[in-house]
């Protein structure tokens, strides 16, 4: 049996691993559905009154929404009241046929947008950033690690030098410095920032794998039958190091999802027209002061569930691929 078949067998016996795999899969499906426009396409619509609390529409009759509360006029009559009322009547008669809900199952944000839909859309953004950045970082780390470990000598020195340069700057500081010079927001910018700075850990591990493997007999045999350097590196050694790559990829997804949240929170992440878990948390401080807890709760719950499931899944995959580590 191959390594992968054995690993799959072990994984099937691991109940925590299977459960977390199911949750990860569910998150991925939600993200894909959201990306394809099947879910939460109208997340930007004003479907409820501002800060509609979580609950069901029937229960909301007792709480008159803020919009219906008459404003304090301190005894001074509004001179424009009549005209404004007329304008409002024509506007609502012509444009607005749909009434705004006073309560939603998961509440609404400042602009009356459904928090549930924002969470779904945020899942898409956060997972996209996490997966793409992890793929980029893993690709770079694997390539550099393979070159350094396989060729050794000055190639190794060069990449080790690059490694020590990148690791002597703390990760988040490096990310912030790159964000400062890029000066532009957006999903692509975040992916590039995280992916181009986050390859060092993977490099270290892959380099060690290649150092170990390049003197093994199967590689020497491949050399003897005339396999090229590239073929030995990627067709012969890489499959034997691929379990490290997979585990690292999964670990970095979690790391980058968390980093994206911090970047977006600080305003250096995704743009204002995109919603992510980080940008939802960024609205939370002013909401909490007013006692509106539902947006931070929803974003935190979604993120905690996704990240926990991903972490447990990574642990399960690692245990399944390398049974010596228990």
């Amino acid at each position: 049996m191959t390594l992968w078949a054995l690993a799959a067998q072990r994984l099937r016996r691991d109940r925590v691993g299977l459960a977390s795999a199911a949750i990860v899969l569910a998150f991925l499906l939600v993200a894909i559905a959201s990306g394809a426009g099947l879910l939460a396409r109208d997340w930007g619509q004003e479907v409820a009154v501002s800060y509609a609390p979580p609950g069901f529409a029937g229960a909301s009759a007792e709480h008159p929404s803020e919009a219906n509360v008459p404003q304090q006029d301190y005894g001074i009559a509004d001179p424009l009241a009549v005209e404004l009322a007329e304008i409002r009547a024509t506007l609502s008669g012509a444009a607005r046929t749909k009434t705004k809900a006073t309560a939603l199952a998961f509440g609404a944000d400042k602009w009356g947008r459904d928090v549930l839909k924002k969470v779904i859309k945020g899942t898409e953004t956060s997972l996209l950033v996490g997966l793409a950045a992890a793929a980029l970082a893993t690709f770079l780390g694997t390539l550099f690690g393979a070159l350094a470990g396989y060729y050794g000598r000055w190639v190794d020195d060069l990449f080790n030098w690059l490694y020590s340069v990148f690791t002597s700057i703390p990760y988040l500081l490096l990310v912030l410095a790159v964000a400062a010079v890029l000066g532009q927001k957006g999903i692509l910018a975040v992916i590039l920032i995280l992916g181009l700075t986050g390859w060092t850990g993977i490099f270290r591990l892959i380099r060690a794998e290649y150092l170990r493997h390049r003197v093994r007999e199967y590689v020497l045999a491949a050399d003897a039958v005339g396999a090229s350097n590239a073929r030995r590196m990627f067709a012969h050694i890489l499959p034997n190091a691929s379990h490290v790559v997979l585990v690292q990829l999964s670990l970095h997804v979690v790391l980058f999802i968390k980093s994206e949240v911090i970047l977006s929170f600080l305003g250096f992440g995704v743009g204002v027209d995109t919603v992510s878990w980080g940008s939802m948390l960024a609205e939370a401080p002013s909401e909490l002061i007013l006692g509106m807890w539902w947006q931070i709760a929803a974003a935190t719950a979604a993120m905690a569930l996704a990240v926990t499931a991903f972490s447990l899944f990574t642990d399960a995959v690692r245990d399944a691929l390398d049974p010596r580590l228990q």
Binding site: I169, A179, V181, L182, G183, V254, I262, F268, T300, A304
Partner: protein, 311 residues
């Protein structure tokens, strides 16, 4: 001694690399700073003047030389937005950062060690598994949520701590203003630290000397707290040491939320204002600090464990 000289000599290429990386980022990727500085209403004359005063009208190798001279003399000029000397900024911001970081590191290391020891003692049991799952869940919640929620409940709702602020004397800062930030930092770092230290302890528990200690009749408590802890001290120490430079800049979220005038908050402000001299300086300083601390950690191993050979 020869070891020390050789290690210090190795700083040169790494530092040169950091300088090149920072230079590449800010002078090449970052674009022309004159447009940033001149603001929205800029005329060509103004831009030309700014370019000349910053030296960006010179060829790249001259600019690089200017930057290397700045690094060597530790004089990064003045902040673009406040015109304060960069060295002055760091001298005044270091104190508040350390006021939070030193108690944070001490308390969190101590608690994490005790908790990890406890978990290692009950290894494999339900307690162990429950705490490990709790740590995984705890780690998955963003640091932002910890800060926001703890600040909201403990400071704003219950009023146990000041919501934010900073005083004039060390004692006042330490007892009054740094208390909640330190608490938040401890809560955040506990989950990953417990997991890590538990794995260090479990590595040691399988060793022969532990079996010997048990065989000669020592209690489990003494085995863990004396024999295992001594041997696990080295990886624990590495972890604590390597956290320091990252914390110096990485505590920026805590410093920002609690309005602590430390280095982390300065970094965020600098990034928001595109204040390149400050970011450049902090990157170089922290890189140097990282290298020095790594060297110090290696020397400390030697002092702690005579088996360690420094090559």
């Amino acid at each position: 001694m020869t070891y020390l000289v050789r290690r210090l000599w190795q700083f040169v290429p790494t530092l040169l690399g950091v300088v090149l990386l920072v230079f590449f980022l800010f002078n090449w990727v970052g674009g022309d700073p004159a447009y940033l500085l001149a603001g929205k209403i800029a005329n060509p004359q103004l831009i030309e003047n700014i370019r000349r005063s910053l030296g960006v009208d010179q060829p790249y190798w001259v600019q690089l030389w200017i930057f290397i001279k700045q690094v060597l003399t530790a004089d990064f000029g003045a902040s673009w937005s406040t015109n304060e000397r960069v060295s002055q900024i760091f001298a005044t911001r270091l104190g508040p950062s350390l006021t939070v970081l030193v108690p944070l590191l001490l308390i969190s290391t101590f608690i994490a060690l005790a908790a990890a020891m406890l978990v290692a003692y009950y290894r494999g049991s339900l307690t162990d598994r429950a705490i490990m799952v709790g740590c995984t869940v705890g780690q998955s919640v963003s640091i932002l949520v910890y800060i926001l929620v703890l600040q909201y409940f403990l400071a704003y709702q219950l009023g146990w701590f000041p919501v934010q602020g900073w005083g004039a004397t060390l004692g006042e800062n330490l007892l009054r203003y740094a208390a909640l930030p330190v608490l938040v930092g401890v809560v955040v770092s506990l989950a990953p630290d417990i997991r890590l230290y538990r794995s260090f302890f479990l590595d040691e528990i399988g060793q022969d000397y532990v079996r010997t200690a048990r065989a000669k009749g020592l209690g489990e408590g003494r085995v863990l707290w004396v024999h295992v802890l001594r041997n696990a001290a080295i990886p624990v120490l590495t972890n604590v040491m390597t956290q320091i430079p990252g914390l110096l800049a990485g505590a920026f979220l805590i410093e920002r939320f609690f309005s602590i005038p430390g280095i982390g908050r300065e970094v965020i402000l600098a990034v928001e204002r595109s204040d390149f001299p400050v970011i450049k300086a902090v990157t170089i300083y922290v890189a140097v600090a990282t290298m020095v601390i790594n060297l110090a950690a290696d020397l400390l191993y030697r002092a702690l464990d005579p088996r360690v050979q420094l090559k």
